[in-house]
């Protein structure tokens, strides 16, 4: 078969393509996906704007700029906060913080959880027992305490030459404590797949362990990582809220968590619009991620394919 002939040979229909095709047909999931993309575009825009020094937000958010606590009106859609800053602006800006935290924390979780899970599941024995012991212990500690502990310890330390401040504290602490669920998931799947005949076949023609893990097992569990990612993202956004609420979050710039934190005092004064704005923003990203994540699971899981 010549190279030219090979080029003409039609590409097959991988399970990914199949899954994507089915996903695209689901209108609700696609609408949700659109909304999620909007959030990301917003965050991206803010990053770019800041990089080019375009004025999207005041340099100092704690500067008094206008009337305090103006309720929502035709002038200011979401009202103003204690410094007279536009709540709408703060909400939009908060998207950057939340998404950055969630994305980075996801990254860290995947980086730790997937390899550990794969190694534990494949090699079993002592290695497995150690890893399982580690994550069982970690997950037995109440989540919030754990995150708080990490956040307090990591604050103002340096890691690989970078100073850990504010936002980094947040996502590092979340990421370093949240990999357990993914690790368990991957470990379970790897144990299942390890006994499948195609893995046996690979061993029978001399595949090394490394090759089996990377070439055969991991591609068959990647879809789980993606599904888990989309669902866990929501949890990370909420975790950021909790950290800010506890005063461990990003200090100088507005985030949804900080807005809700401020609302604690504000509500007693009848100022509800900051909390409402933040809650609405969190609600929609969580809802759309959940719906989209469910649709992803339905479409990507080979077992759920209707033959």
């Amino acid at each position: 078969m010549t190279k030219e002939q090979l080029k003409k040979v039609p590409k097959g229909r991988s399970l990914w393509k199949d899954g994507m095709r089915r996903l695209v047909k689901r209108r609700l999931a696609m609408i949700c996906f659109g909304i999620i993309i909007l959030y990301f575009l917003l965050a991206g825009f803010i990053y770019i704007a800041e990089a080019f020094n375009l004025k999207v937000g005041p340099v100092n958010w704690a500067e008094e700029v206008g009337t305090q606590y103006e309720p929502p009106s035709s002038k200011t859609i979401f009202g103003t906060d204690i410094f007279g800053q536009s709540v709408l602006r703060k909400t939009l800006y908060g998207a950057k913080i939340s998404l950055t935290v969630a994305l980075s924390a996801s990254f860290i979780s995947i980086l730790i959880g997937v390899p550990l899970g794969a190694i534990a599941g494949y090699y079993r024995g002592v290695v497995d027992e150690i890893i399982v012991w580690i994550y069982s212990t970690l997950s037995s500690i109440p989540y919030i305490l754990l995150i708080m502990a990490f956040a307090i310890v990591l604050r103002d330390k340096t890691l690989f030459g970078y100073k850990i401040t504010g936002i980094s504290t947040v996502y590092l602490s979340i990421g370093l404590t949240s990999w357990v669920g993914l690790c368990r998931l991957i470990r379970g799947e790897v144990i299942k797949h390890k006994e499948r005949e195609y893995v046996l076949a690979a061993r029978s023609y001399g595949c090394t362990n490394k090759r089996i893990i990377f070439r055969h097992l991991i591609p068959n569990v990647v879809h789980l990582v993606i599904i888990d990612f989309s669902l866990r993202f929501v949890a990370f956004i909420h975790a950021e809220v909790i950290l800010s609420f506890l005063g461990l979050g990003e200090g100088t710039r507005p985030s949804w968590g900080a807005m809700i934190n401020d609302a604690r005092i504000e509500l007693s004064r009848g100022v509800w619009w900051q909390m409402a704005a933040a809650t609405v923003a969190i609600f929609f990203i969580s809802l759309t991620l959940n719906i989209f994540g469910d649709a992803l699971r339905d479409c990507l899981d080979p077992k759920l394919r209707v033959e």
């Binding site: 090979l6 040979v9 991988s14 399970l15 195609y198 061993r203 023609y205 068959n220």
Partner: protein
């Protein structure tokens, strides 16, 4: 180099026991005696069939030979190489010369790889071939098994069961092996496809001078396919003979009962059904002595005390049987 007497594969006293661990300290409380002391040999170009019902150990035996499961004791000599104590390099060579075709056409192919990659991977690993040359070799293999090379970029789920099994055959042939182990290759296929695959395997045997170790539970398939047949029961070989002999003249009570239990279409072949009570006992606690004695119509007290040895029936050509009391008469024709 071990003396193999002209046999390509010689298995002696193979035992594969799986430990059962219980309790906090994971102590071994017993063993599943999956393969319990079997011996056989295959010459180059022959097909030997291992037949038996589920749990008899035939699949475990096949996997033990290439060390896909840990072997407890015994000797496996392949092409002069002692497989069970081979070092990495030698084992690598063995893995190149023995290949295996699996039963499940759906589970034996990685669903995330194209069939081109699936078939080509063994070649890539052993011969370090890549690119154009690899594609050509894969295309040739596809043609040999009756599939179109145009399908080289397709994924397993785009094929039917029979076609997937052909892909499995192509993969098994990729390195031009000397011995091919067929682990129930047609059991999971539709009836109208089974004969296609069996014919294909036979043709390939002639073309590539292959030697087969054929594992199945369907006696008719094994009779057609194999030169020599060994019947297994609960980890042991109870009877072994060349194919024609075994079917015309089964001696062991288990073999006889097995044959009579097969539903026959041809009314002339339906013999009187041998009353066959009970079920196959578990391999964890096999009966003492001859494993078949609790269900055997000929059983006597000696059978529960002593396991009969596999011995040649006098006057026969390689007809072996492990039974104390059955009639050992060979009909020659």
């Amino acid at each position: 180099m071990a003396n193999t007497n002209g046999h390509l594969l010689k298995v002696d006293n193979l035992k594969t026991y799986f430990p059962i661990r219980k309790g906090l300290l994971r102590r071994t409380v017993g063993h599943v005696k999956a393969v319990d002391d079997i011996s056989f040999a295959i010459r180059k170009g022959q097909s030997l069939g291992l037949v038996g019902e589920s749990g008899c150990g035939k699949t475990t035996a096949a996997r033990s030979i290439i060390r896909l499961v840990p072997v407890t004791s015994g000797n496996v000599v392949f092409d002069g190489i002692d497989v069970l104590s081979a070092e990495k390099e030698q084992l690598y060579a063995v893995r190149r010369d023995i290949s295996i075709i699996f039963q499940d056409p759906f589970g034996s192919l990685n669903p995330r790889m194209t069939i081109g990659n699936i078939i080509g991977e063994p070649i890539k690993i052993h011969k370090k071939t890549k690119g154009q040359e690899l594609t050509e070799q894969v295309a040739e293999l596809l043609t040999k098994v009756g599939l179109s090379p145009d399908h080289i970029n397709r994924y397993p789920h785009e094929f039917s069961g029979g076609q997937r099994q052909r892909i499995g055959v192509a993969r098994a042939l990729a390195l031009r092996p000397k011995l091919v182990i067929c682990d129930e290759p047609v059991s999971a296929l539709d009836v109208s496809i089974q004969s296609q695959i069996l014919n294909l395997l036979k043709e390939l045997q002639e073309e590539f001078s292959l030697t087969y170790l054929f594992i199945a539970h369907d006696l008719a398939v094994v009779e057609f396919f194999c030169d020599i047949v060994a019947v297994m029961y609960l980890g042991k070989i109870v009877e072994q003979a060349n194919s024609q002999q075994l079917y015309r003249n089964p001696l062991h009570p288990y073999t006889k009962a097995l044959m009579s239990a097969i539903p026959q279409i041809d009314t002339t072949l339906r013999g009187k059904r041998t009353a066959f009570g009970g079920e196959v006992p578990s391999a964890i606690n096999p009966p003492s002595g001859c494993p078949f004695h609790p269900r055997c119509p000929l059983a006597q007290s000696k059978c529960s005390r002593q396991m009969p040895t596999l011995e040649q029936v006098s006057g026969s050509d390689g007809h072996l049987i492990a039974c104390w009391f059955c009639e050992k008469k060979i009909f020659s024709d």
